[in-house]
């Protein structure tokens, strides 16, 4: 049995991605609740010792400490998924997973910022963040639409991968910033399939049924 610990905040969508994969893989993991709001506990010395950037999630696997959502997903899949389905190793599927993980880490950050501002921040003008979020969701929607033309239903492989996990919360939580799902039919169908995966878990803000 692996000795896994996740430093977690329930309302954080990046932590949710790690929780999702742990659940899909059926892994036992100790969950340590971190008081992010209002406590900002992740920026106190004990947590800065684990991640000097002061961010969650943090995963420990035995003595190994790992930070960065995409790296955590990749590590869990590589080290604890013998089927290699969640992180396929063969040519194009692997490259496509990497490409969407990069998109998630670099571009989808905007959707996280938009949501944090509207949930926790002072009232302000989120218009440009929301417009940017819409553009990103449209890129995702049209990628899946085009893959659907050849019968593909997931982002990177003929089955779900950590790319789908990395992308799911941005769409599922988009209503928090006022982006309805009406205009993303391919993402809607994908998110229904995603919710139907065995081991799927919700987080606050994502309704159980859809």
């Amino acid at each position: 049995m692996p000795d896994l610990t996740l430093y977690n905040y329930d309302l954080d969508e990046s932590c949710y991605k790690a929780r999702l994969l742990l659940s899909f893989l059926g892994l036992d993991c100790k969950i340590v609740a971190v008081d992010v709001f209002p406590g900002r506990e992740q920026t106190t010395p004990p947590f800065l010792a684990l991640n000097p950037l002061g961010r969650l999630p943090i995963l420990t696997d035995g003595d190994f400490v790992l930070t960065g959502t995409e790296a955590i997903l990749a590590h869990l899949a590589r080290a604890h998924d013998p089927s290699e389905r969640w992180l396929p190793m063969e040519g194009e599927a692997f490259a496509r997973v990497m490409s969407w993980l990069t998109f998630s880490a670099r571009d989808l950050d905007v959707t996280i910022t938009a949501r944090q501002r509207s949930l926790f921040g002072p009232p302000g003008d989120e218009t440009s963040l929301v417009a940017a979020s819409r553009r990103l969701l449209r890129i995702m929607d049209e990628h899946l639409l085009a893959r659907g033309y050849t019968g593909e239903e997931w982002f990177a492989a003929p089955h779900p991968t950590i790319a789908d996990i990395a992308l799911f919360p941005a769409f599922a939580l988009s209503r928090d910033v006022g982006i309805d799902h009406d205009e993303y039919p391919a993402l809607r169908r994908w998110s229904r399939r995603f919710r139907g995966l065995s081991g799927f878990r919700v987080m606050p803000g994502i309704p159980e049924y859809f």
Binding site: E183, P185, P207, Y209
Partner: protein, 242 residues
């Protein structure tokens, strides 16, 4: 555009799977489109008779649409058939959703804002291959004039010099043909400055699935790019009819 008395497409048919629901907007009004287990389509006001929450967030179970909030369930006739808090009592007949006319044709789901169904849509072609729904930041009239001005590149080689013929099939349905190939475009007036175009190929999947669909998706994305990039609209419009 006069919204009364016409059918409007609100979704590609395959975008709402059997057993699921989706929210759509027509002339600013929020509607829910859902399909029962057999695939029958229903269009209602997107408002739960209980507390007015959006029904499109709900779930479809055994041919009924259930509201996410307190689980009231509504049958295909719009009648409330189950209230979880009072499972044994008879639900009063007055508790029902507001239905709109509905039709599935040309690979699209249609509705109208009038109480009575508008005059019937024309019969559809035998085989349709879906392409995409495009959502645009402009009024329906602007989307229509961009569509009129666009040139349709045929998918199959050999037809390359064919000119584009634009044809009105119904008040909100248009055909663009080039040689022996044609697509249909349904126009949804989402709100005053928001329009959706629902695009299908008139032809069988064996010919168009995959590359043919991608070909017309690229055409659609270029059309959208021209609409969204105003500087392209004044001069130098590559790919457009003179």
């Amino acid at each position: 555009m006069d919204m009364q008395g016409h059918w409007y497409p609100v979704s590609l048919a395959h975008s709402v799977e059997p057993g699921s629901a989706a929210g759509v907007r027509l002339d600013g009004r929020e509607l829910v489109v859902w399909r029962d287990g057999e695939g029958g389509a229903h269009v209602w006001e997107d408002r739960c008779p209980h507390r007015g929450m959006r029904l499109s967030l709900g779930f479809v179970r055994e041919g009924r649409l259930g509201c996410l909030y307190h689980g009231w369930e509504f049958g295909a006739d719009g009648q409330c058939s189950h209230i979880p808090a009072h499972p044994d009592s008879q639900v009063p007949k007055a508790i029902r959703t507001r239905p709109y006319p509905k039709e599935v044709r040309f690979g699209m789901i249609w509705t109208a804002l009038s109480a009575e169904p508008p005059p019937p849509l024309p019969e559809d072609a035998a085989e349709i291959t879906p392409v995409a729904s495009l959502y645009l930041d402009c009024a329906a009239a602007a989307a229509l004039s961009a569509l009129r001005a666009s040139r349709l590149p045929p998918f199959r080689a050999g037809d390359h010099d064919a000119g584009t013929v634009f044809e009105t099939v119904a008040p909100t349905l248009f055909r663009l043909s080039a040689g022996s190939e044609s697509i249909l475009v349904g126009l949804q007036a989402v709100a005053a400055e928001r329009t959706a175009l629902h695009i299908v190929i008139e032809g069988p999947g064996v010919v168009y699935a995959g590359q043919g669909q991608s070909h017309f998706l690229r055409w659609a994305q270029e059309l959208r790019h021209r609409i969204e990039t105003p500087s392209l609209n004044s001069a130098n419009r590559p790919g457009e009819a003179p």
